[in-house]
């Protein structure tokens, strides 16, 4: 082989080598790091309804300067001096209050009636009811010597009776603090009336329907919301 021939054969081999090197198939495999998705945030928890603040229970029994005020009626059987069972809780609370109010030495339980019906019967019924309340308190370990009970019939009305609602206001039981006596000039505690009615009330219509008897004491008509003076002993 001449020198030029040798040269061209070498060039050809080089070209073939290059072409061969460029061809073929390469197989490979791989993977990528895990792709972490972000799920949507869960829906916000429903906003809890605002905490319902329980209304402060109206205190059924309160001690004021001159009264043990009860913001609920003591219920009696009709025309009787029998306290209805539904008032037992209230009587319990009154007894508890009286036992805790150690500064109170003497309380008069007053029964009051409306002017409807026979005044004498009303007087007796109101007196019986006052005594029934006293007995129920004594049965709950309230010292008997701290209590007196008296019925006033309709002589100490809270309001003039033009309607049945007025009469209902006048039917009541009051707890008047006799000892310690309120200081002179101390304002009498108005009877609260949370439901629009009189509070310390027996709540039972008087017996009979005869005209009311003339009161034995001078008839006074205190304004609504004021308290009658303590009866003279």
């Amino acid at each position: 082989m001449t020198q030029p021939q040798q040269r061209w054969s070498l060039v050809g081999m080089a070209l073939i080598t290059g072409l061969v090197a460029c061809g073929g198939v390469v197989q490979f495999a791989g993977n990528t790091p895990a792709i972490a998705g972000n799920p949507p945030a869960p829906p916000p928890a429903p906003t809890p309804p605002p905490a319902v603040v329980a209304p402060k229970p109206i205190k059924r029994v309160e001690v004021t300067v001159d009264h043990i005020v009860i913001n609920e009626k003591i219920q009696f059987d009709s025309n009787k001096a029998t306290i209805k069972p539904e008032s037992n809780g209230l009587i319990d609370e009154i007894a508890k209050t009286l036992k805790e109010a150690t500064q109170v030495k003497k309380v008069e339980i007053q029964g009051h009636a409306s002017s409807e019906g026979d005044a004498k019967a009303n007087l007796k019924l109101s007196d019986d009811r006052a005594k029934a309340v006293m007995a129920s308190l004594v049965s709950r370990q309230v010292k008997a010597e701290t209590l007196t009970a008296k019925g006033y019939g309709s002589e100490r009305k809270l309001v003039e009776e033009k309607t049945e609602a007025d009469r209902e206001k006048n039917r009541r039981v009051e707890f008047l603090i006799l000892d310690p006596a309120p200081k002179p000039g101390a304002a009498a505690t108005p009877t609260p009336a949370p439901t629009g009615t009189a509070t310390t009330v027996s709540g039972v219509k008087p017996a009979g329907s005869a005209p009311a008897m003339a009161p034995t004491a001078p008839k006074t008509t205190p304004k609504a919301g004021t308290l009658a003076p303590a009866p003279k002993k």
Partner: protein, 128 residues
């Protein structure tokens, strides 16, 4: 002697010239270059996957694709999901195929690269 030297130099230059028009990747090089390209597409895949999670929070699994790098052009061709080795639901598979669509390996290789690649998708913890 002088002629032989000239001839050797010429041959060497010729060999280099003949090789300069194409890349010559081995398996590892194909893997590495492919990984770089695919990694760059992870953002697109994640965005697509997040979208799927909005409606299908449990969507997850593996997607295995087979493909080829076209010799000479470097284009990604014949991308196909390997169903036998895929566990992710169809929408997630589409996230992969769409993200890879149009990729080109550069420089192109004179050899055909036949690849199998697996992408794994996992639903993370939802942000509070």
């Amino acid at each position: 002697m002088n002629k032989s030297l000239i001839l050797g130099s010429a041959l060497a230059l010729l060999s280099v010239a003949s090789l300069s028009g194409c890349a010559l990747r081995d398996t590892q090089m194909f893997h590495d270059d492919t990984a770089k390209l695919f990694d760059a597409k992870q953002g697109d895949m994640k965005a697509c996957y997040d979208g799927i999670l909005k409606t299908t929070p449990t969507a997850a699994g593996k997607v295995t694709v087979n493909f080829k790098w076209e010799p000479g052009t470097g284009k990604l061709l014949e991308t196909a999901v390997d169903k036998a080795n895929t566990t992710a639901p169809e929408p997630v598979q589409q996230c992969v195929t769409h993200a890879l669509d149009g990729l080109v390996i550069n420089p192109p290789d004179k050899k055909e690269g036949q690849g199998t690649w697996t992408f794994e998708f996992a639903a993370g913890t939802p942000k509070a």
